[in-house]
């Protein structure tokens, strides 16, 4: 199974590279587009989350090592230390996801308050948000 995947990876290396980076960067651009263009505050926050998701995918993609297995010394893989993917980006992305979640939670609570105040979640109808 692992061997098969390895062969496929070598054979279609360029396509897979484009696919991984393209998906991640594409997601980031979609998120940025939503942040810049959308009028609804909730959609802006969704955009921010998509932007984050793209970046997290990049982390995971970068951490992959050709032919590597998961960085866990599970039974049968006790000596596979040199054949594992990079564990550091995986640990970092965990932190990044949690931080992204915290920011989203605070953003949503701010939106609830803005909505109560202005009875709208449209950015162009909330005066002091225009700049």
């Amino acid at each position: 199974m692992q061997q098969e995947f390895h062969e496929i990876f070598v054979k279609y290396h360029e396509i897979i590279t484009l696919g991984v980076y393209g998906t991640a960067i594409g997601l980031m651009l979609i998120g940025l587009y939503a942040v810049l263009m959308k009028k609804n505050l909730v959609k802006i926050v969704i955009g921010l989350s998509i932007l984050d998701a793209g970046l997290h995918l990049l982390f995971i993609g970068i951490g992959y090592v050709q032919g590597g297995t998961a960085p866990i010394f599970s039974p049968g893989y006790e000596d596979a230390g040199s054949k594992m993917v990079d564990p550091v980006p995986q640990a970092l992305v965990l932190t990044a996801i949690v931080i992204g979640f915290a920011v989203t939670a605070v953003a949503l609570s701010l939106i609830i308050r803005l909505y109560k105040h202005h009875h709208t979640a449209k950015i162009d109808q909330i005066k002091s948000l225009k700049w």
């Binding site: 980031m28 942040v35 505050l41 802006i44 921010l48 932007l51 984050d52 970046l55 990049l58 982390f59 970068i62 550091v88 980006p89 970092l92 932190t95 990044a96 931080i99 915290a102 920011v103 605070v106 953003a107 701010l110 939106i111 308050r113 803005l114 105040h117 909330i126 002091s128 948000l129 700049w131």
Partner: protein, 497 residues
């Protein structure tokens, strides 16, 4: 137990996690505990600064893993100076906000105490950590608390200001994370000393990309133009003590991040010119914006941005005198601008519609506060007997040393603008006819003591600048000395006990 740098982080954390339980015992505890923590921070600073004087640095590793592999905390003269400054300011701000009138409900008090304390802890964390990703985590702690505190008051437009800050902050954290990812792929480490050691292996183009991402990301916290859209709103909507903390603490941490990255991590010469230009634009635009503000806190916020521009210029000149001057200015800015925000928010409570024009006759009604505000105003524009004078003088000397005539002209011109808008306020307070009756909100004794301390510091440092210049010279040496930073972190892993 021996005092080590980790105490800066662990003690506030213990307090923060315990406050929700302790509030059940007595409802005054969330007010008192942050004060104790801040006081303990000062003790840590004193002990550690003595060690720094003796050994040159204090270093500690987390979980026993040596520096390039585990996370290390390092206090050099530079970071030690900033951390001590932040500890001192944190305590003074706590003293000022203790018995803060506006916060009455226990639930609000609990959140406020935790958030304010953790904002200061986050700023300290940014400064003492030796790991780039750890710095990012602390930066996010500061961002989350700052956003929550900005929108603390429900009757103001705090939520808008907070949301603005959140969008810009979210964007900045994405950029920093991207930069960290790229850097990691290039050098395979996250330790700043090891990055600095290996940075010459990175291709030029990639290096420039990473540096730009970092500068934009940290420039947002350091209020660099055009990334400072959040600052005036956040400063003016946040509670008074929080505005003081933004000026005295948060911005310092942002500048530290920027400086650490440009001076230690990278070896690109062009970054210094970038700092000068960025700082210059920031300063000029901010000071002219300050001129046309009608809200006192917004005016102070723009002035704060302008001052940070001046700090960036001084760092950008990059000579020893200039770096020393920049550090001196950071110290002055922290003390003076915090004093201005403290007195300014009390003046604002007493004005009718929070504009400068309603300050008429304040000099008679609140003589002590007005006097301190004027003191701060004179000090920040750089009048001779006060501490602000020295920092400006040193910056001009440094610029003259590099024969940057245009820069000197710009700084002097901007100083005149500063004088105009600060003196407008001061003259209104003392010389304008009192037009309307205003309700008087008397500040409590502890707030007066806090402001008095800051006023005294401004006077004493103004008269005897030698009291801190020795430390600052050490710190300036340390910033420019990349090799010994790397040596401290990587080659001497035994924690100095």
């Amino acid at each position: 137990m021996v005092i080590t740098p980790i105490h800066y982080i662990v003690v506030p954390l213990l307090a923060a996690f315990a406050i929700p339980l302790l509030v059940k015992i007595h409802k005054e505890l969330p007010r008192i505990i942050p004060g104790l923590v801040m006081f303990y921070n000062i003790i840590i600073s004193i002990v550690l600064m003595q060690q720094v004087n003796e050994f040159g640095y204090v270093s500690e590793v987390i979980a026993g893993w040596k520096a390039p592999w585990g996370i290390n905390l390092i206090i050099t003269p530079f970071s030690g100076f900033l951390v001590s400054l932040i500890s001192f300011m944190g305590f003074v701000i706590w003293l000022y906000q203790y018995r803060f009138k506006r916060v009455i409900d226990v639930g609000e008090l609990k959140s406020y105490g935790i958030l304010q304390m953790m904002m200061i802890t986050g700023a300290i964390g940014i400064i003492i950590t030796g790991d780039i990703f750890n710095m990012f985590v602390f930066l996010e702690i500061v961002a989350i608390t700052a956003i929550s505190l900005t929108s603390f008051y429900r009757h103001r437009d705090g939520a808008e200001a907070g949301f603005k800050y959140l969008l810009i902050g979210g964007f900045s954290s994405t950029l920093i994370l991207l930069a960290i990812l790229l850097l990691y792929t290039q050098v395979g480490t996250l330790n700043m000393a090891e990055i600095s050691e290996k940075i010459h292996l990175v291709p030029q183009g990639m290096k420039a990309t990473i540096l730009v991402l970092f500068i934009v990301g940290f420039g947002i916290e350091a209020e660099m133009f055009p990334l400072n859209g959040w600052a005036p709103d956040a400063y003016s909507q946040a509670p008074g003590p929080t505005s003081a903390a933004f000026a005295g603490i948060v911005v310092k941490a942002g500048v530290y991040g920027l400086i650490r990255i440009i001076f230690t991590l990278f070896d690109i010469e062009g970054a210094f010119d970038f700092l000068i230009i960025g700082g210059l634009v920031t300063m000029i635009i901010a000071e002219f914006s300050a001129l046309k503000q009608t809200n006192l806190k917004r005016m102070l916020a723009y002035s704060s941005i302008g001052q940070m521009g001046l700090v960036l210029i001084a760092f950008g000149i990059g000579t020893k005198t200039a770096v020393f001057a920049a550090l001196f200015l950071m110290f002055n800015h922290a003390v003076i601008k915090s004093l201005l925000f403290m007195t300014g928010s009390i003046l604002m409570y007493n004005s009718k519609d929070k504009t400068i024009s309603t300050l008429n006759g304040m000099g008679k009604k609140l003589p002590f506060i007005s006097l301190l505000f004027s003191l701060g105003a004179f000090a920040i524009v750089g009048l001779p007997p006060f501490s602000g004078f020295w920092s400006k003088l040193y910056i001009l000397t440094a610029a003259a040393g590099e024969e940057m005539i245009l820069l000197i002209g710009a700084i002097l011109a901007v100083s005149i603008v500063e004088i105009v808008y600060y003196f407008r306020v001061v003259s209104k307070m003392y010389f304008a006819e009192e037009t309307e009756h205003i309700t008087i909100f008397k500040p409590s004794v502890n707030a007066k003591i806090a402001m008095g301390i800051l006023g005294a510091v401004i006077l004493i440092i103004g008269l005897y600048p030698d009291l801190i210049t020795g430390y600052l010279h050490n710190a300036a040496d340390m910033i420019l000395d990349k090799a010994s930073y790397i040596d401290f972190v990587l080659n001497s892993n035994a924690p100095v006990q």
